[in-house]
């Protein structure tokens, strides 16, 4: 035997009565069609999964089931617990409670190896491939056979045949670095199929793909389920889920809000609501206030994301002083890039960004800081703070250039310490001393450090990205009060959030962004949020421009 047949060595392998597992060889043999198993026996059942991380309950008694030959979408916002749940299934994490059954057999995975042996393969968002090696070499990597690759060409044929079967065309001899992202993803899928995966977990597979590649992927997934594979499709994009999945389970804040809905029986709006939720808002003391002059105006801005794909496609908006303007949208639709172009961290391809009438597009970040733009970054630990520097060093990040802290080339440390102590008092930053390194602070405290720094500069414009993400209720309320106080003080605030209720309760106006384009602008009134408004925003978030909605409702 020259090649090894990848096979499915289930540790739990006892098949239910007399139905032999379909065995497949990859050397061009026809797939042995297997009678469909009764639909009521799921291939995977997860019951009451609980997974805790320090300070977060990532999965709170989550149930999930997957039937054979279906695409089951797992939908939820960032941080809802989708990836955690799937990492539990793929053997990366051990849950604190709950059980996993595969074809009715209880299993206990202690490593990803166990999961692969049980036929579960996960395709991660970030590919795990060796760029300098060929497709075939990557696929064989880590397998016990062949021990020493002698006839690589033979395996090339096996890989090509496997790709043929599932419509995953890729040249087995190509080096990974020569491939497009879409092709690399195909290699990842092939890798799992070669290892005999019957169940594929796709972690946000479309996030890295161009639209045309997405179509190809969807076709591939369809081909795979037609051959009896089962697929879990993780996403936070509603339209994709509707297009791809047979059923959908929605997670919100670690809990299941809808389990195994048939996509044919539901609508995007229902899903949006299940995903974003609608909880009772705590009342905020938001005084009516007449907005002042336009502080920020953005006209027809185009920009690319880190991968060089268009992220902003003709965005225009304006923010006036004393006004909180919300930016709603599902994550990854250009919000981050928008915040970055305003704060000088990203170049625009075209368009204008005016701050108090002066064009600041493509200026360096320190120019926008000098002009009074403050920025609460989405990523507190990697962007917002320097972990090993003291709280003092962290709070002077934006103000060290000016007196009293920066005097000429000198850094006045006593002034800096005084400043840090003032902020510590004023913003309730709980640390033993301001000399404590930032990495020892909790998430809420760290956010207070950032807010203290950004607000203390008396900004004319504040760009707040997800300022309450990951915080507990008390901390959230504190952040909200600070933002409202800034509005009182006359700052222009652009608030980017995925929490619809937060946006509605804080904003005076609201824009909705979708794939780098504005879907429209709404006046909001926290006191009186109607069901209609929720639905309209839901539609806009999924790509329907406001005008179209107005036209339709006007017609009916």
């Amino acid at each position: 035997m020259t090649t090894d047949t990848p096979r499915n060595n289930l540790p739990v392998a006892e098949q239910p009565s007399g139905k032999p597992e379909a065995r497949r060889t990859v050397l061009g043999e026809r797939l042995v069609e297997e009678p469909l198993q009764s639909a009521d026996l799921p291939v995977i059942e997860m019951r009451g999964i609980v997974k805790r991380f320090p300070g977060v309950l990532a999965n709170d008694h989550v149930d999930f089931d997957l039937r054979r030959g279906e695409i089951h979408a797992l939908l939820g916002e960032n941080g809802a617990g989708k990836s955690t749940l799937m990492n539990v299934l793929a053997g990366m994490y051990q849950p604190e409670a709950g059980e996993i059954l595969i074809r009715g057999q209880k299993v206990n995975f202690t490593s990803p190896r166990d999961a692969i042996r049980a036929g579960i393969g996960m395709v991660h968002q970030h590919f795990m491939l060796v760029p300098s090696q060929t497709v075939t070499e990557n696929i064989l990597l880590g397998l016990d056979t062949p021990r020493f690759v002698v006839k690589l060409s033979q395996y090339d044929r096996v890989v090509a045949d496997l790709g043929e079967q599932y419509g995953l065309k890729v040249d087995p001899r190509a080096k990974i670095w020569q491939l497009s992202v879409g092709e690399q993803q195909r290699v990842e899928i092939l890798k799992m199929l070669y290892r005999g995966a019957e169940i594929l977990i796709m972690d946000e597979p479309t996030a890295v793909l161009a639209p045309t590649e997405i179509e190809g992927l969807i076709k591939t997934l369809r081909a795979m389920v037609a051959r009896g594979k089962s697929i879990i499709f993780i996403s936070h994009k509603l339209q994709e889920v509707m297009a791809v999945a047979d059923r959908v389970t929605v997670l919100r804040k670690g809990r299941v809000t809808a389990a195994g809905l048939e996509t044919s029986q539901t609508t995007r709006q229902d899903l949006a609501r299940l995903m974003v939720g609608r909880e009772v808002l705590f009342r905020l003391d938001k005084k009516p206030r007449q907005p002042g002059e336009v502080v920020l105006s953005i006209e027809d801005v185009h920009a690319e994301n880190d991968k060089g794909l268009p992220a902003l496609r003709g965005v225009s908006l304006h923010v006036r002083s004393g006004e909180i303007v919300g930016l709603a949208g599902v994550a990854g639709n250009g919000q981050r890039e928008l915040a970055q172009v305003i704060t000088g961290l990203r170049k625009v391809k075209s368009g204008r960004i005016c701050l108090n009438g002066t064009d600041i597009h493509n200026c360096d970040a320190h120019i926008s800081i000098r002009e009074g733009v403050s920025h609460i970054p989405e990523d507190r630990t990697h962007v917002g703070t320097a972990p090993n520097l003291s709280v003092t060093d962290n709070v002077i990040m934006k103000s060290y250039r000016k007196p009293p802290i920066g005097r000429g080339v000198i850094l006045d440390m006593s002034a800096a310490t005084r400043f840090a102590n003032e902020l510590k008092e004023a913003y309730d930053i709980i640390v033993p001393t301001v000399e404590t390194p930032a990495r020892l602070l909790s998430g809420g405290n760290l956010q207070r450090v950032i807010l203290a720094r950004e607000i203390s500069g008396r900004p004319v414009l504040m760009v707040a990205m997800q300022p309450t993400r990951g915080l507990d209720v008390g901390a959230i309320e504190g952040v909200h009060r600070l933002l409202l106080a800034q509005r009182e003080a006359g700052a222009a605030i652009l608030l980017v959030s995925e929490e619809l209720e937060e946006l509605l309760s804080l904003s005076d106006r609201l824009y909705v962004i979708y794939e780098g384009q504005m879907m429209g602008e709404l006046q909001t009134d926290a006191a009186n949020v109607s069901q209609d408004q929720f639905e309209i925003i839901g539609l806009m978030m999924t790509g329907t421009p406001l005008e179209h909605i107005r036209k339709q409702t006007g017609a009916s």
Partner: protein, 377 residues
């Protein structure tokens, strides 16, 4: 099947190590204790090596101590050895602070020595120039030459993302070849591979030069370079902890993304810091050639001060003030080490100290417990 060969022995032990990341700052006494513990462990391991080589560890260590701190004369020699290490240690501390791995202090040191020598040998100044002019000009020349040698890897890193470890390391060899060219061909003294000796007014003043007034100083070769080193250490400390630029260096070093977000120019700072680092090493070379060697000659200049500077900086935890005592410790090791053996064991002890110290850093970030196996099961 892959686990089979591994560890039946460890499995039978009743204890196991459990390692946890620290979530709290360790107490104040902890870092120093750990470092001293590491040095002690290194000395014990070094002692074993000495014993295996047929020596008596205790006597060897006593000999080292005596030969480097035993009386004013040898202590002065220790300080002479420590002087270039202070500069290269500072050079490395500054660059490492920004996580720029400048392995080229050696080459920058050599080029600094070359720059200073060129003032005498080219000659840029006539031989009878007053020391009040000679020394500042040579200082400047050494600084500029070192800074230029630091600029090259800095520029390549900032603009073309060339790995500075490789480029700065390779430049060391070029620097050696460069001065070899000059002393073999141009400035050779009667065919010997060294330049003629500098005129006395181009020498850094030594303590022994003051012996006429203070007889106590007779024979002490400690030179003005030590004072340069002390002043530079204070200056570098001030720059790092009390200047805007130093704050930028520390911020970029700790989190470049946050630095970008705070509006800092990382490209420019990469070049500037490499030049600053090169200038410090260059002053070291100037001080060594004008204070100690008094002529351009390869062997005493390319003696690895730049490489030892890496160890010094690391041992000092990149703290400029701590660079001074650490340099003295290493100066002593180099000096007294030669008493034991010209090369070999003393270098090995240096290496063991460095490895132990770097390894001890692990204990700063993690707690290690010994747990009973059966409890865990």
């Amino acid at each position: 099947m892959s686990q089979s060969a591994a560890s039946p022995f460890f499995k039978r032990l009743p204890f196991a190590l459990r390692i946890e990341a620290r979530v709290e700052e360790p107490p104040g006494w902890y870092p120093l204790t750990i470092s001293l513990g590491a040095i002690l462990l290194a000395l014990i391991l070094g002692g074993i090596v000495i014993a295996l080589a047929g020596g008596d560890p205790i006597r060897s260590y006593l000999h080292i101590a005596n030969a480097s701190f035993g009386n004013v004369g040898v202590f002065s020699d220790t300080l002479v050895k420590a002087t270039p290490l202070i500069m290269t240690g500072l050079a490395c501390s500054v660059a490492f602070r920004m996580k720029l791995w400048n392995i080229g202090a050696e080459g920058q040191f050599i080029m600094g020595a070359f720059g200073a020598s060129a003032v005498v040998l080219a000659p840029l100044l006539p031989a009878e120039t007053s020391p009040w002019v000679f020394i500042p000009v040579m200082l400047l020349a050494g600084m500029v030459a070192g800074a230029l040698w630091g600029f090259i890897p800095g520029f390549l890193k900032a603009t073309l993302r060339v790995n500075e470890i490789i480029s700065s390391l390779m430049l060391n060899y070029i620097a050696v070849a460069w001065i070899n060219f000059w002393i073999f061909a141009v400035w050779t003294e009667g065919g010997f591979q060294m330049s003629p000796q500098f005129p006395k007014n181009a020498w850094l003043p030594r303590l022994t030069d003051l012996a006429a007034r203070f007889p106590f100083f007779a024979g002490l070769t400690t030179h003005l370079g030590l004072l340069f080193g002390i002043l530079l250490a204070v200056l570098v400390w001030f720059v790092l902890y009390r200047s805007r630029w130093g704050y930028e260096i520390r911020l970029i070093g700790d989190n470049p993304q946050a630095a970008r977000y705070a509006g800092l120019n990382i490209t420019a700072n990469t070049i500037l810091v490499m030049m600053f680092s090169g200038a410090l090493a260059g002053i070291g070379g100037m001080s060594e050639v004008t204070g100690m060697v008094h002529r351009l000659q390869t062997a005493p200049l390319a003696a690895g001060y730049g490489f030892t500077g890496i160890i010094v900086a690391w041992l000092a935890k990149l703290n400029p003030l701590a660079v001074m005592p650490v340099s003295i410790l290493f100066g002593a090791l180099i000096l007294a080490g030669r008493e034991i053996q010209p090369s070999g064991i003393p270098k090995m002890i240096q290496g063991i100290i460095l490895v132990c110290l770097i390894a001890s850093d692990f204990l700063m970030r993690y707690r290690v417990y010994l747990v009973r196996k059966n409890q865990e099961a």
